[in-house]
């Protein structure tokens, strides 16, 4: 249940957001790219871009950030070995080189990856960026003081599992080699064809050891990107970024960096952000948001106003909301019961609760409906738009429940419209027709995470969601269905506790592939195979509507993040 987020996941209990708010990233519409005036006009350099956000950039240390594709505001300051392709829609779901000259050179079995840095790379103070700084940056992300990043480096790098970072262990990680100042070599403990994706994360940002101040580094992170932080008030609530004069577009083809200055204001209520963007007065005319989308009420208002409607971009992001079963709990041990629920579900109620057909697309597959994930449009238990009550009742009868079934659905009391009570009550209503009575068990959000992520307390039936760390089937399927990733004494995400050798083997086999397109095909096939177990009921894939100010130009929303890429936005 990780939140793919621009900032490290902050649990926001108080928010007026009516929609899938905040931290998500998404992608431009598959067909036409971002809509609206912003895409058409010719962009020019200069001006100040205002960013209105709900969540403060409380963490600005590359070691602590958990981002997809390098993040948004952080990616203006931190360059990484590779990065996402800064283009609209599906094209944006590709990985491209950033600091490195290519996306990585694997050895034969993809256990050793070598990168070479571009020439002429400099920090904001003019000193050169070296491969040793990248190694140091990765190493410090293992320090317990700087926890928060994604788990992959720990799981993949040889000897990383017990490594506690350079502060306690100055010798460093032997599995990262820097033969010269432009070369860096990674030794992995198993084949990982998707290493280029991982290299997009901010942990591969260079950190000069002499400037490292531990937990205080985030107050003055050293920029390798087009902008540097000149002001950081109230722990990331207000940021001012100005041009890093040592950055050059000659060595960075991805970031456009049109505005001269970027002013990030956060801690705002999401409805206030959307109000301000729609009013678009003063500096708000040149404003965007990187963590807020339109809620249903706001959408209803915007769609009735042509001018506003022209200032809305649509984003997709690899994300699935689903119902999870724990087959260790009765009656969900019976596949027929799980199938009956899959048939019974009335997705229209659920989609309306999530914001309606413009903000949520019906999901019948676990993998997101995007090509890069290997999307394979199957529907093994066709329920139609409003549920197949007859088929469900029949299955229940076979399973020994001719008079209907009473089950408990566990959900959280947060206000995220994902695992929240609104969705739970919609599910409750959506199963009613099939004679399935749903009782609700709502838990406070921390309690909810503890409960559903612990194999000992995991309930039989609960609301869950999963988002992509990068646009591929690997990080989407493996944590949920790889039997070796069942965690007994910590946070477990394999909620079905599936440990099927054929599934595990197929995952290993795909990981060996360095041809990412071929891998995607196989992920799609694996998804359909697993779906036959009916361990989850996919509900919907969210869609994000992003409002932006009048003066915004060059709007790019990739399928990788689903938000306006502020490295591309121009205000003049």
């Amino acid at each position: 249940m990780r939140q793919p987020s621009v900032t490290r996941a902050r649990v926001v209990t108080v928010s007026l957001a009516v929609a899938v708010a905040a931290s998500a990233t998404a992608c431009g519409p598959k067909d036409s790219g971002a809509a609206g005036s912003g895409a058409d006009a010719t962009p020019h350099k200069g001006g100040t871009l205002t960013v209105l956000n709900a969540n403060p950039q409380a963490d600005f240390d590359p070691a602590r950030l958990y981002t997809s594709g390098g993040g948004n505001v952080p990616s203006l300051v931190f360059r990484t070995l590779t990065t996402r392709n800064r283009e609209n829609g599906a094209a944006g779901a590709k990985v491209v080189p950033d600091l490195a000259t290519d996306t990585g050179r694997p050895n034969k079995d993809a256990t050793v990856w070598t990168y070479t840095l571009k020439k002429g790379l400099k920090y904001e103070d003019g000193t050169a960026i070296t491969s040793a700084d990248i190694k140091y940056g990765i190493e410090r992300s293992f320090a317990p003081e700087l926890s928060g990043g994604a788990p992959y480096l720990r799981d993949w790098l040889v000897g990383a599992a017990d490594y506690q970072g350079p502060y306690k262990d100055p010798k460093g990680l032997a599995s990262i080699e820097t033969p010269d100042s432009r070369t860096i070599v990674f030794h992995l403990n198993k084949p990982e064809g998707e290493f280029p994706y991982l290299a997009t994360q901010t942990q591969t940002t260079p950190v000069p050891k002499s400037k490292d101040t531990g937990t205080k580094y985030e107050e003055h992170p050293v920029s390798s990107g087009p902008y540097k932080v000149v002001e950081n008030d109230n722990d990331g609530e207000h940021l001012v970024l100005t041009r890093n004069t040592y950055w050059s577009s000659a060595v960075d083809s991805e970031r456009k960096a049109y505005p001269d200055k970027i002013d990030v204001r956060s801690g705002l209520d999401s409805s206030v952000i959307n109000q301000r963007l729609s009013a678009s007065q003063g500096t708000d005319a040149a404003a965007v948001t990187t963590d807020t989308n339109l809620g249903p009420a706001e959408l209803a208002k915007v769609t009735g106003d042509k001018e506003l409607a022209s200032r809305v971009g649509t984003g997709h992001f690899g994300y699935t909301n689903y119902l999870a079963f724990n087959p260790k709990v009765k009656p969900f041990d019976n596949p027929k019961v799980r199938e009956a629920i899959s048939y019974a579900i009335d997705r229209s109620s659920v989609i309306n609760a999530a914001g309606g057909s413009s903000l949520a697309e019906s999901a019948t597959t676990f993998l997101p409906n995007q090509k890069s994930f290997g999307y394979n449009a199957y529907d093994l238990f066709p329920a139609g738009a409003t549920g197949n009550a007859a088929k469900a009742k029949e299955l229940l009868k076979e399973a020994g429940y001719p008079n209907g079934l009473t089950i408990t659905l566990t959900h959280s009391n947060s206000k995220d419209f994902e695992t929240s009570p609104e969705i739970a009550t919609a599910v409750q209503d959506a199963l009613k027709k099939a004679g399935i009575t749903v009782k609700l068990q709502g838990l406070e959000s921390n309690d909810y995470s503890d409960t559903v992520q612990n194999v000992k307390t995991e309930p039989g039936f609960f609301l869950a969601h999963w988002g992509a760390d990068w646009p591929s089937g690997g990080p989407f399927l493996a944590p949920i269905f790889d039997g070796r990733q069942i965690v007994k004494d910590g946070a477990n995400f394999n909620s079905g506790q599936l440990n099927d050798k054929s599934v595990n083997d197929e995952i290993d086999a795909i990981n060996k592939l360095t041809d990412l397109d071929a891998a995607a095909q196989r992920w799609g096939a694996l998804d359909k195979k697993i779906a036959g177990e009916a361990l989850t009921v996919p509900l919907f894939h969210p869609v994000y509507k992003r409002l932006y100010g009048k003066d915004i130009k060059n709007v790019v929303i990739s399928d990788w993040t689903g938000v306006l890429d502020i490295s591309q936005v121009a205000v003049k």
């Binding site: 108080v14 921390n446 910590g490």
Partner: protein
């Protein structure tokens, strides 16, 4: 003034006892709160080993009393902590470090408190002026249309939650009429004019709810005072209504208003939680709600203590004002 000295001392001791008790309660309550703090701090995908390391670093595995002792120690002598690369010192009174961000809690409070104080203080001026003003007017005009209109407005204020008033005000004033910019906190020291303009709406939304209470109180206590013998005396000497209402009745009616206002600081902070959240003002309330949600105990304790301290101080000040307003009162 030995009387005042002993009053101040007694109040100080009382405040310390109160704050001490509050901190104990918060520790116990949050100890019982569900949520794996180390997991939240470390991130959802941390391995059990990493979570354990974080727990150790935050002393989460220590017994409650030992953690509490450490907290008290920090207040008295300060606290040393590791930033990874060096050892930093959090000087007394140190309220510890945030679990989530590793920032010193005292530092967080110092940056957030001015925002909340700006909000509450400004709103207080408005609600006092507005509340007492309409209260006097409706006591004076009682039974007439003026009073009925005021009563209706008052009750509307009383019955509308601050989050509704605030949003509607914002949509209408900032969005549709564009009379004011959308609020965005500017420090008083940076630009006093912008400070006031930006806080005007938050002030109003918070004040409208509270003013209603003061209107009712002022009206009631004005009527009370107007029925008193000394008012009859001045009437019997031909003193004009204006002077009777404005000078004699109001003065008598102010004492309970002062007392209430002190008590209201507490509830205003509660209202401020909602106001700050709605308007995105980076104040204590907003931070506190967030800290509660992520079980960031040091931040919660620190902030609650600060709020408690403000309430205690406000009460003491009110008692002094009360005694100044009415010399018959003896400070105890």
């Amino acid at each position: 003034m030995t009387g005042f000295g002993s009053f101040a001392l007694r109040r100080l001791v009382g405040a310390v006892v109160t704050l001490f008790a509050i901190s104990v309660i918060i520790y116990v309550v949050f100890y019982a709160t569900p949520g794996n703090v180390a997991q939240i701090t470390c991130g959802p995908r941390c391995s059990p080993a990493q979570v354990h390391q974080v727990a150790q670093q935050l002393r989460l595995d220590d017994p409650l009393w030992s953690r509490y002792w450490h907290f008290l120690e920090g207040i008295v002598v300060g606290q040393d902590y590791s930033t990874g690369t060096s050892v930093a010192h959090c000087s007394a009174p140190c309220l510890g470090l945030s679990y989530q961000t590793g920032q010193q809690v005292t530092q967080i409070i110092l940056t957030k408190l001015p925002v909340s104080l700006s909000l509450v203080a400004g709103a207080m001026v408005i609600w006092l002026v507005l509340g007492v003003g309409t209260g006097v007017l409706s006591a004076w005009r009682r039974g007439r249309p003026t009073e009925r209109a005021l009563t209706a407005v008052t009750l509307a204020g009383l019955s509308t939650p601050v989050f509704v008033i605030g949003l509607v005000l914002m949509i209408v004033v900032c969005g549709q009429l564009q009379l004011l910019p959308f609020p965005q906190y500017v420090a008083l020291t940076d630009d006093p004019e912008q400070w006031a303009w930006n806080l005007l709406l938050p002030w109003l939304s918070l004040a409208l709810v509270e003013a209603a209470v003061f209107t009712r109180l002022t009206r009631a206590s004005m009527l009370e005072t107007l029925a008193e013998d000394h008012i009859r005396t001045f009437r019997a000497y031909g003193v004009g209504e204006r002077s009777i209402v404005g000078r004699h009745a109001l003065r008598g009616a102010l004492a309970p208003v002062i007392a209430l206002n002190a008590n209201d600081v507490g509830s205003a902070v509660g209202g401020a939680v909602l106001t700050e959240t709605l308007f995105g003002l980076p104040g204590i309330g907003q931070e506190l709600v967030h800290a509660v949600s992520v079980v960031d105990l040091p931040v919660v304790v620190g902030m609650v203590l600060v709020i408690g301290f403000c309430v205690v101080i406000a009460n003491a000040v009110a008692d002094v004002l009360y005694a100044v307003a009415d010399r018959r009162v003896v400070l105890v």
